[in-house]
């Protein structure tokens, strides 16, 4: 027997990439996909990189495929929106060596701004899709995807969800296949997507889809489990596991792993044999629509019942208890206890977080609108700061601020100023073009780049500003100030965000200007493993602790407005938790009685 190991889905996909002989992989971090590339980066046989954004990651992987290396890109669901442009056209050309893309969706939105179902991308872009349901399938389907990609000259999409990514199950390990570089042969008719060529490729895509439809009918991933029941269950991905917990041996199953193109004939014959068919799928009614198309309208119970009424919930995770509740009509009786004793535990900026000082000052401003972005600093929206008015997607802080300011300035005498706030990695991802727009189109919004020297929210991935690659090699430290200057911004200040007076003065300065400005707050994330660059620039960072002088403390609670989890008030005196405090001194600067040292 081969060696078995407990692995998360993300680890198993990385293992599949390794075993498939992949030589190049790229990604941008995003929950729940981040650990895929982190694990790939640990295999020295693979060149693995964090790209500045998902579009770049997919394009560079596509390039590597043209160059002859089996290549791979992974991203969270919203990342594929960013990469959609190349994705749709790569579907026409295919690569040279195999090319596989992973999208990690988030039913239930554990850590995301929306709940889009990226299975729709497979159909939309006409790219074959696989949906693993556990770690073993994550590995095996990843390997198979490369075979499929090469056989049909197409990129292949693998769709996983949070619970597939972050659940562990047993996986058998195998050897790495040797996949030499496929020689590149010039083929402009295939790779140059001018209309004349692309129209020819468009027809090829249809031929390919016809072949894949046939393949889908008979492949090993779409299988029927016959338990001799009159009830049928059709499901894919993690949902098949939830369904099996509920129906056990009392139903027959059509388990779908190859979900674009769907095996319509197989679905039709399965539906015909059953008087009732449950379609269990998270997010959209993707399979359900196909079941109805394949003659199942009168027996199909999915998101909707045959009479058109709501059956399973439209959104959120369809865990076994949710399915059971709907199918049996019986809810588990809730335990009877005093629920007011459960106080919320919302995420908060860490003790010592360098964003704290900035948001403390920003939150005091009444004359501004703050356009936020995606990262830890989104927490600036929350109490006690309440320092954010909107946020949408990567980079939208800056462009959004530009638009808001333009609209406000259409009213004569407007004095309200708009501030776009984003992090270093988000600036590299898609903030740069937005800032260019401000300069070029004579915008007047203020941009603040919260440079904490790392990609924080997703668990500390390197980025172009840190000086290190995904595989720990030294590289050029990209200079944010230099980029900002080159884009044409004339007013730039770099400040320490823990210095409240300086933050205040700098905001005053930016607000008073009649032209765009950029403030860069530069201080390393409190959780960052400091590089030697960081140690050199901030030799004293996080080495101190603050203490309360209880004789001076009057219990006014002003320090609580810092929103620091290390500080609280007990018996009318402030208390600082010495295990959490790292001496950022924000509370000390807030204290009106100089009671904190």
């Amino acid at each position: 027997m081969s060696k078995q190991q407990l692995m998360t889905g993300n680890e198993a996909i990385a293992r599949g990439v390794y075993e498939a002989g992949v030589r190049f992989a790229a990604a941008y971090p995003g929950t729940p996909s981040t650990e895929i590339l982190e694990n790939i980066a640990s295999y020295k046989e693979i060149s693995a990189q964090w790209s500045p954004n998902e579009k770049v990651a997919l394009e560079v992987a596509y390039g590597a495929s043209i160059g002859g290396a089996r290549s791979f890109a992974s991203m969270k669901h919203v990342g594929l929106n960013v990469a959609a442009d190349p994705f749709f056209t790569i579907a026409y050309t295919g690569g040279n060596a195999g090319l596989v893309v992973v999208t990690a969706d988030e039913p239930g939105q554990h850590s995301s701004q929306n709940e889009q179902d990226n299975r729709n991308y497979a159909r939309h872009a006409k790219v074959p899709m696989l949906e693993p349901s556990d770690s073993t399938e994550c590995k095996n389907m990843t390997k198979f995807a490369f075979e499929l990609s090469e056989k049909y000259e197409t990129p292949v999409l693998i769709r996983v969800t949070t619970r597939v990514c972050h659940s562990k199950s047993l996986v058998s390990l195998e050897e790495r296949q040797d996949k030499p570089i496929v020689p590149y042969v010039k083929n402009a008719a295939k790779y140059v997507c001018v209309p004349a060529n692309a129209r020819v490729r468009r027809a090829e895509v249809e031929k390919r889809l016809d072949a894949l439809k046939e393949y889908s009918e008979n492949c090993e991933w779409n299988v029927i489990e016959d338990n001799g029941s009159g009830i049928g269950v059709i499901a894919s991905g993690m949902a098949i596991n939830y369904a099996k917990e509920v129906f056990g041996k009392d139903a027959d199953y059509l388990k779908l792993g190859f979900t674009f193109p769907l095996p319509l004939k197989k679905i039709e014959s399965f539906v015909k044999k059953h008087s009732k068919v449950y379609v269990i799928e998270e997010n959209d009614e993707y399979i359900e629509d196909a079941v109805k198309m394949a003659g199942g309208r009168d027996v199909c119970f999915g998101k909707y019942a045959p009479d058109g009424s709501r059956f399973l919930p439209a959104f959120g995770e369809l865990t076994s208890d949710v399915i059971r509740r709907v199918v049996t009509g019986k809810a588990v009786p809730a335990a009877s206890f005093d629920r007011s004793k459960v106080i919320g535990r919302p995420p908060a900026l860490c003790a010592g977080c360098p964003h704290r000082g900035f948001f403390f000052e920003l939150g005091k401003r009444k004359d501004v609108i703050v356009s936020g972005d995606i990262g830890c600093y989104t927490l600036g929206f929350a109490s006690p700061y309440n320092a954010m008015d909107c946020n949408c997607c990567m980079g939208a802080s800056v462009s959004g601020a530009n638009g808001i300011q333009k609209a406000l300035d259409m009213v004569e005498g407007n004095t309200k100023r708009v501030i776009g706030v984003l992090g270093d990695s988000t600036f590299f991802h898609s903030g740069m073009t937005s800032l260019l727009d401000i300069v070029y189109n004579k915008g007047n919004a203020i941009t603040v780049i919260l440079d904490n020297r790392i990609t924080g929210m997703t668990g500390h991935q390197q980025n172009p500003g840190t000086g290190f690659t995904a595989q720990g090699e030294e590289t050029t430290v990209v200079d944010i100030e230099g980029i900002v200057k080159a884009l044409g911004i004339k007013n730039i200040r770099i400040i320490d965000p823990n210095d409240l007076k300086l933050v205040r003065e700098t905001l005053d300065w930016a607000i008073s200007l009649k032209e765009p400005s950029v403030i860069i707050t530069r201080y390393p994330c409190v959780l960052k493993k400091m590089s030697y660059y960081d140690k050199n620039e901030w030799p004293d960072a996080y080495k101190n602790k603050c203490k309360v002088d209880t004789d001076k403390c009057i219990g006014c609670k002003a320090c609580l407005r810092s929103g620091c989890p290390a500080i609280s008030v007990k018996d009318k005196k402030a208390v600082i938790d010495g295990t959490m405090c790292v001496g950022c001194t924000v509370c000390k600067q807030i204290c009106p009685k100089a009671a904190i040292n």
Binding site: L6, S167, L170, D321, K341, A348, P565
Partner: protein
């Protein structure tokens, strides 16, 4: 018969290592094991959960259903109450008598609730563990998580598994003995 164990706590308390050791042990004992974690924003002091399901037969879902947990082990007191709906009738709760106030409490908008243990006892067979004090007795406050892991091992009758070997393979050499002692103490406390 599938067994369901729910570990709950606050980011940074070591629930992830405890559940890793537990799943490795169950795997070694030839159970089919599935484990699921939600830890999206937990680095920032949020609530964390690990679902662990195991059986001699096949386990499908990695997620425990409401009302199905055989045991809930809470690394933080209030978290036990937060996830109590997962406990099945007759299930057991092991609760660490340890408070971590969340942001609404430290910022003065709410107070840490009193009478949580009494509330738990109304509904469930509850054992209170002073894991922080026990950990200090053993010599390192950080082994709180292994003491709580020990309570799972004891209550689910998993003491026959070779935990010592698993610890020595997954913990830094200088901490192996400390962790072994912590697990042993947890097993005692669960009885």
């Amino acid at each position: 018969m599938t067994k369901n164990i729910l570990l709950v706590g606050v980011g940074g308390q070591g629930t992830i290592l405890a559940s890793k050791i537990l799943t490795l042990g169950l795997q070694k004992a030839n159970y089919d094991v599935k484990m699921s974690e939600i830890h999206g924003m937990s680095q920032r002091g949020g609530s964390v959960t690990s679902h662990i399901r195991y059986s001699e037969d096949k386990v499908y879902s990695p997620v425990i259903e409401l009302g199905q947990a055989d045991v809930i082990v809470a690394f933080e007191k209030m978290e036990a109450l937060r996830y109590l709906d997962y406990l099945k009738k007759g299930g057991k709760v092991f609760v660490n008598n340890f408070e971590i106030p969340g942001m609404p409490i430290t910022s003065g908008q709410a107070e840490y609730p009193k009478g949580i243990i009494e509330e738990l006892r109304k509904v469930a067979d509850t054992t209170v563990i002073e894991a922080d004090l026990e950990a200090e007795k053993i010599g390192n406050p950080k082994v709180m998580n292994m003491i709580l892991l020990g309570t799972i091992i004891g209550s689910m009758k998993l003491d026959h598994i070779d935990w010592d070997t698993i610890l020595s393979e997954n913990v830094k050499p200088q901490f192996v003995e400390l962790n072994k002692a912590a697990i042993r103490r947890g097993i005692e406390l669960s009885k």
